[in-house]
Structure formats: C-alpha cells, structure tokens
C-alpha cells in the first residue's frame, strides 16, 4: 500500500471520506511562523489541507528554541518561512506550499492571501493583528486567531463582518503593541495547545462543522487548568 493511500486512514471516521477530500481543495494562509504558526502549519498539513501559504519575514534566533517546533539549533539565523516549507514538504508532499519570506503590511498582505479560503493569525503584535483583520475583511475570508502569554492562551474566530479584535483588545487607537507576553514570555506547551485549538477551529470553519468560536473567546490558563469559553457579545 502506498503512503498516499494510507496517509489519512487514522482520520476516519472522525472525518468522512468526503470531508477529507474537501480539505484537499482548501487554501489556508498562516501569518506568523513562530510558536503558534509552526504548530498550526504542521497540523494543517497532516490533516490534509491542500494548499498552505506560509508567511513570515523573520529568521530564527536562539530564544525561539524553547517553543517553536520549526526551530532547530542548526537553523538559527535562517528563514522561518523556508524552514516551514521544508518541514511541510517532509511531512506531507501532497500539500502545495507557497512560502513567503517577507513581513506583510497592509499593501502586500492582500495579494498574499487573496486566493485563500481562510487565514490563521499566529502573529505576535496586537497592531498587526488589527491590520490582518482589515485585510481578511477586504478579501472576505474568515480568520482564526490565537494569542499566548506564559501559560495563558486565547482563541477566537472572526468572520469578515464581525467586530473581532475590537471586542478583545478595545479600540486600536489605544493599544499597546504587545500584551503581557513581554513580561511572561511564552512556554512551549501553551503555544502548542493554542496552535492545536486554532487548527481545530480551521477545520471546523472549513467544513462548517461543530461549535465555532465566532464572537466567543476561549481562554485557557494552565497553572489552574482553566478552560472557559466566554461570550464577546
């Protein structure tokens, strides 16, 4: 039996064969390839999303080794987007990858994601998150957002006409660039848990299945094992 005929055997019957086939037809963009984006990209590739656009202008540094799955010692100083492309091709060569080693701004991001069905926010700047939401609205695609600080994380889903980040962070005019993560750092297992929750929301949105975190915020805190879904409106 070939790899490709066996590849998705363990996805069934959690997914139907028809849903598995549908996943291969979708194009998903991941913006930010650090602690969240590395995990999200790999999980989306493993479940069989057809095309991944992987965007990050950064290179690895040694402080990424504590949590970023794509970061290995030999890759310090090299492109995160390049590492993501190699990793995804090694995991699932049936996934088409567009790797973009470039920081996105409001002018360039539209072209990067305009053909996508969904975009995943794995960024580390609150200001850039608002920019991404505006571009996702322009492209008219949903956005799956995750954010972390220490062992605290949050996940939400924003559709094009939703208020989205304003409900979470307030008006963008009164924002700090970063949240409490500038004090707490980010811990590996928290990053990967939030990445897993984001991957799950991606699949649910794409397949229109399950309870989606639209206008809701899942908050988790791992010292106290707190997991709560809050209503934002």
């Amino acid at each position: 039996m070939s790899i490709d005929s066996e590849r998705y055997e363990r996805n069934f019957d959690t997914l139907t064969r028809a849903q598995q086939a549908r996943l291969a037809s979708f194009r998903v963009a991941v913006l930010g390839l650090g602690g969240l984006g590395g995990g999200v990209s790999e999980m989306l590739a493993r479940i069989g999303i057809g095309h991944l656009t992987l965007i990050d202008g950064d290179v690895f540094d040694a402080s990424n080794l504590n949590r970023q799955l794509l970061c290995t010692e030999d890759l310090v100083g090299t492109s995160k987007a390049g590492a993501a492309e190699k990793r995804i091709q090694a995991v699932n060569s049936t996934v088409q990858v567009t790797a973009v080693h470039q920081y996105a701004d409001s002018d360039t991001l539209y072209d990067m994601i305009k053909d996508c069905d969904l975009v995943v926010d794995c960024l580390d700047s609150i200001h850039t998150r608002f920019m991404l939401q505006a571009v996702a609205k322009k492209v008219q695609i949903p956005l799956v957002a995750g954010a972390i600080a220490g062992v605290t994380g949050q996940v939400t889903v924003i559709f094009p006409d939703d208020k989205g980040y304003e409900l979470i962070y307030g008006k963008k005019e009164h924002l700090p660039a970063r949240g409490i993560e500038s004090r707490t750092g980010n811990i590996s297992y928290c990053a990967l848990m939030v990445a897993a929750l984001q991957a799950s929301e991606c699949v649910k949105v794409l397949l229109d299945r399950g309870d989606i975190l639209r206008n809701k915020l899942l908050i988790m805190e791992l010292w106290s094992n707190s997991f709560e879904v809050m209503d934002l409106i």
Partner: protein, 78 residues
C-alpha cells in the same frame, strides 16, 4: 448597604492580586467592576477583558449576588 458575595477570578499576570477569599468575595450591593479593580489595586490598563458569568461586560457593570467575575489582561504573543 447590603453585602453580597461574588466569585472572583483573575488570570495570568493578575493572579498575584487575587484576595484570599476570592471564591466568596464580599462586596456591597451595587458595586461596579471598576470599583473592584480599584480596590484590588490592579495596575492601570492591566485589565483588558471583563467577564461576568461568562459574558463580556463593561467596567461600569454592577454586580449581583452570586456573579462570577473574571478579569483578563491583554494577551498578544505568538
């Protein structure tokens, strides 16, 4: 003024400000979230999200007996 009890939950960097009796936190009827934030001496701008009984509320919200109040700081890392 009558005293009521609420459950208070603080997340992440706010945890050090949690009072000992957070599960049975006693306040006066009609106390607002903002007044609780002030009484706990939380740093300015430390609270980004306020949830009462699992629903987002404003700082002017008045608490009722048995309410579950959650205060959450801004989280933006990736």
């Amino acid at each position: 003024m009558a005293k009521i009890q609420i459950t208070l939950k603080l997340f992440a960097t706010l945890v050090p400000y949690l009072p000992e009796n957070a599960d049975h936190f006693q306040i006066e009827q009609g106390t607002t979230v903002q007044e609780i934030i002030r009484s706990l001496q939380l740093p300015p701008d430390a609270v980004k999200l306020i949830f009462v009984n699992g629903r987002k509320q404003e700082s002017t919200h008045e608490l009722e007996p048995g309410d579950r109040l959650g205060l959450f700081p801004p989280v933006g890392g990736g």
